[in-house]
Amino acid sequence: MTLIFVLMGTFLLIAVALIRRWQQIRFARHVHTLHHRYRPVLARLLSGARSAGGIEALRELPLADLELLFDPLFSQRKLTERQLVFLEALCADLGLIALWQSRSAAGHTATPLYSGDGTPGNHPGGAAGRYLLRAKSIRNLGKLRHRPSWPLLVNAVDDRHPDIQLLALRSLGAMGAPESFPFLRERLHAVVQRESTSPPLAGLQAAMVSFDLSCAPALLPSLRHPDRHLRLHAMEILRTMVGREAARQPRLILIQELLSPPVVDLLLTVLAVDLSAEVRARVADVIVFVADARATSVLHDLLIDRQWFVRLHTVRALSQWRQTTKPQHLEVGDCLHDPHWRVRETAIQTLISFGQKGRDHLYKHFLTSPDHNTRAQIVEVIERTGLMSVLVEEYSTGTKGVEALMVEYLASDTAPMGISGVLRTLEPESRKRFLDRFLPYAEATMRFPEETHTEMGSSLSLQQILEFPPHLAA
């Protein structure tokens, strides 16, 4: 009997697989026909061309087919701002936005529209199928950034299904309606303080960081909260918002008004000395953008924090320093002596990002430091960032100064691999020029190892480098 049951089960599975394939083929044909006929019309309308006939043709389609036609626009393609405007107008005109709103509001009672076999009308998935339609509706409203729909999406954040919650959060993030931010903050409080287990914290954070920086003052209650976990999450959200803004505006310097004075005060006076090192670590990422006289001293304190990862975050954040007030390279230079190698490595990268002044400081440290490990790290970063190629090319063109001395040290002692690797990639002419200049130096090194740097090499002596001559410090 068992044998027969298993045999029947096997045949049943085979039948299901084949029927499913057949259904899919039919469905794919239907979608293909639809796209073949209407995609040119849709493309024309999205390009902004007026086409009353095109809209009429689309109006004649059942809503289910319209959704099928529009679905790739929401799930795959990246649309330009201009296309989004036309798409929103078109969806509103065709009644799709109203449909998606009603589905988002109605929850699981929304009317099913489409069947898997290509026939509009009945959805075979029952409740599960309706949930799928609801999920897609919420996604579409978010993609369109349809701001009037934010209250519906805030409600959907409390849906019983975690996927709907996540999608609603994403859509709210994409819309960025400032009115919805305080609702999200309240949910953040509930989740972090374990008053509620939903929505998912990761989704909540990802949504909140998508909002405009002007929403940051709404985070004040979280940043001031006695719960350190809440302060940490709020700080993480704030620094990511600032990071996004900085990526968008390369010259971003936050004046107090943009971030609001209470937030700036809180950052500089309370959060920078927070008991939680995790919170302190994230403060520097915001402070580097704050145009406030107190910022420099706060950053200085963070650079000598007792926790290595606070120092690491701070020194990394300083690579974003865009203010013309006191330059930070000397403080970052101190981090080259840090006991933790990650801090030293980041300090090297930050100094390089400071431009000529930072690089000069780095070269000076390299040429004078007895610490072999830090020197090896400097060499590694110089090679990985491609700075070695620049140094070698400049040397071959006859530049003098600290860079020339650096190349001679690297080539003769610390980084023979890197130098020879770069030489191999140089043009023959440049390579020849390099060797013409370097070989006499190398020959002299072998004969008079003590005197070489002053006699034959670059025009600067080691003593001059130690004193950091004015023309380099300028």
Partner: protein
Amino acid sequence: MTYLRAILYDAVIGFNLVVLSYFFLGNGIYTILMLLSLRATWMHMREMTYQGLDAMRLSPMTPPVTIIIPAWNEQDVIVNSVRSALQVDYPDLQVIAVDDGSTDMTLDRLVKSFGLVEMDGAYHPTISTGSIRTYYINPAIPNLLVVSKVRGGKPDALNAGINLCRSPYFCNLDADCLLERDALLRLMDPIVNSDRETVVSGGIVRILNGCETKNSRVTKVGLPRTWLERFQVVEYLRSFLLGRTGWHLVGGTLIVSGALAVFHRATVIEAGGFSPDTVTEDMDLIVQLHQWAADNNRRIHMSFTSDPVCWTECPSTLARLANQRRRWQLGLCQTLWKHYEILFRRKYGIVGCVSFPFHAYVEGLGAVVEFLGYFLIPLGILFGMVSPGLLLVFILLGFIYGGFLSVGAVLLEELNYRRYPRLRDLMTLLVFAVFENVGYRQLVLYFRFQGVLKFLAGSRRWEKVAHIGAIAEG
């Protein structure tokens, strides 16, 4: 004589009971896993229709990842493998290829293909490894680092990669694999969108034989030509779609393929990194992580998703298949033996009470039980202790039930992924699924039995599987 006969009788009856328990336990649990997997993969694929990957791709919260590719004598495949890793669609990606002292042209081909130059690196090992000989970079490809180290085995190469990586997560990728463009985003999805501390995320390995490739990417999916490879396609589907998905759902993940998995770097370092004690370092690390987490009261989560795909070449000859399966079985036995203290300990939860014992009995000891069964049961018939009719029914049931599970795996593939677009391929897969248990299963069983014997003999030798060049041709 009567006394001897009685002992023999008892032994054969006892063994038959062991075989019966093996049969019912193995098939019973796999049936449950199949039902769970059917639902879970169905849900997951439906989620992907509305969630997409854009949110992760664009989110500033998506953490950086480093792909580590250990390679030893992989001259035919390494370039395409590294190229496929570099082509992966991920916002912040580094690739580190670790040449583990190859004696062939592996390193030369990497250097030539990617225009690498030697550099002077600084090594800060947090896990002790063999020393690094040379570092290679190309400043024009800043996210690629190639290192050459002294031969220390795959775990040592992976540990060296972990030491070199700076990102919070790393993905290990076998040198004979091609990654799909969105595989990393899909792998990171359960990590980023989960509120649990997800430290491992595994993906699926599919068979490349029979597929067409271009520019290190699979362009057309098809079935391989030979029966041996086709049986392996079915076997992989069953193993990944049914077994691993199912175990993940019940929280009993014991194996995540080392060919494609993402790990949380700090956790792996805390757990001691990859161990050279076994020849299947991937499984060993997973069990080690479970043990470490339970011993240190850490609540960690491991995820398995079946849509991040990497393509690999499967053995096309019996000799290569034998090498591979012997090694897998040897590694399984070594890992189970190394961590035997987990067995039936409540402290280790589902892993200690269900998953580990199941793997020990059905996958480890099962190779011996099933292999000996093919000889001892006929002996029982010979001595008149077992009814031939009953035996025939039992064997038929075994074959058909095995076919039922394999067809179930093909159905899972068809319902959710449909990677084999041609109807003829689906029919072929179904036919091979039905007949997989007649002949092929016994063949693999023989190799697994040899693996157990190697374990008992104390072997630790890595049997390398040569490639036919399916990746190299791309």
